[in-house]
Amino acid sequence: MRELAEKLAGRYGAREWRDQRRDLSSVTVDAQRMRDVLTWLRDEEGYVHLAFATAVDEIERKAFRLTYAVHNHGTGHGLLVHCEIDRERPVMESIHRLWGQAWTYQREMKEWYGIDFPGSPRVDEEFVLEGWEGPPMMRRDFDSLAYSDATYAERPGRETRDPAAYMKEKLYPEADA
């Protein structure tokens, strides 16, 4: 694995290599080199299987961290390749020509995070939602509960008491008086 890490670092300036398990490592590259890295990994290093691609909202850093999980069947080693893109203008190069299923992941990221993949098939179509008017819902600043409460009616009659507050009210109400 060391060897691959060095090659990646040398060729593509990859950094932050970490071995999570014997058969899983992660590495970070620049977003604009991601496609080259994945192509190279697929064609030269035997990482032929794209397990999934997804994004993590790093809202504190104003970035999206993209993760592409590739797998080498020969060595049984999996690699999580990360890159970060700007959260304000999230655009990423499409890899739909590298793997036949990549376009669905990209369509998903477009809908769920608002990350654009120019050229990816049907990337602007709705994926799992229909008539969605809110912001991309997987962004961390989207509050699912608030949206749900505002949109979908709840059955009334639910009310709960906090034990400490209830006991105070019943046993020593004068404490604040």
Binding site: E126, V128, L129, E130, G131, W132, E133, G134, M137, F142, S144, L145, Y147, S148, T151, Y152, A153, E154, R155
Partner: protein
Amino acid sequence: MSDKKGKPVPLANEGLPAGERGLFCDAPPREYAPAAKIVEDFWNWARSQSLWILGFGTGCGAIELRPLMTSRYDMYRFGIQPRPTPRQSSVFVIGGYASVKTLKRIVRSYEQMMGPKFVVALGSCTINGGMYWDSYNTIKRIDQYIPVDVYIAGCMPRPEALLAGFQELKRIIRAGKAEGQNEYARNFEWYKANQKRVIKDWNMPDYNW
């Protein structure tokens, strides 16, 4: 097709020549006027003995319909059987949670069903949101959108519970209390308003409401 920005979609027959407007249904559902008591009782008995379920697995509860319709529980012997199309069905089983996208299909399928029609709702999700109570994409109370005749508690209810639910439905039908369909007709405006509040992509091809 769907309007991406979620703006109100124009009515389907808007701009059509007058002669073609009739292709789209403008008439709201009507309440069912019962016949004379003795006749109606007989009909109710007959209805209760042949519950034809719409085979639409709207949520995870549908998985327990499979054992129910095969040999172990064999619901056919109780006069219950699945049908592939709403036009032939009298019972709609809401299999748990309904996402907004599915809700639209539920409404459409329900409206396509011939009367008299009944709805059985399975599990926590249909009663008060269940475990998806904070999800942005699932409704919490199905009775806001279509009328429900029988609820079966469980997550998910076992086949036996489903059978018991159908027996209860039969009982209600025989007693002439399965009023969901009339409820829907009576409160059509209210149901429509609720539906439209959550279904933003309101595109129902040949209806005009």
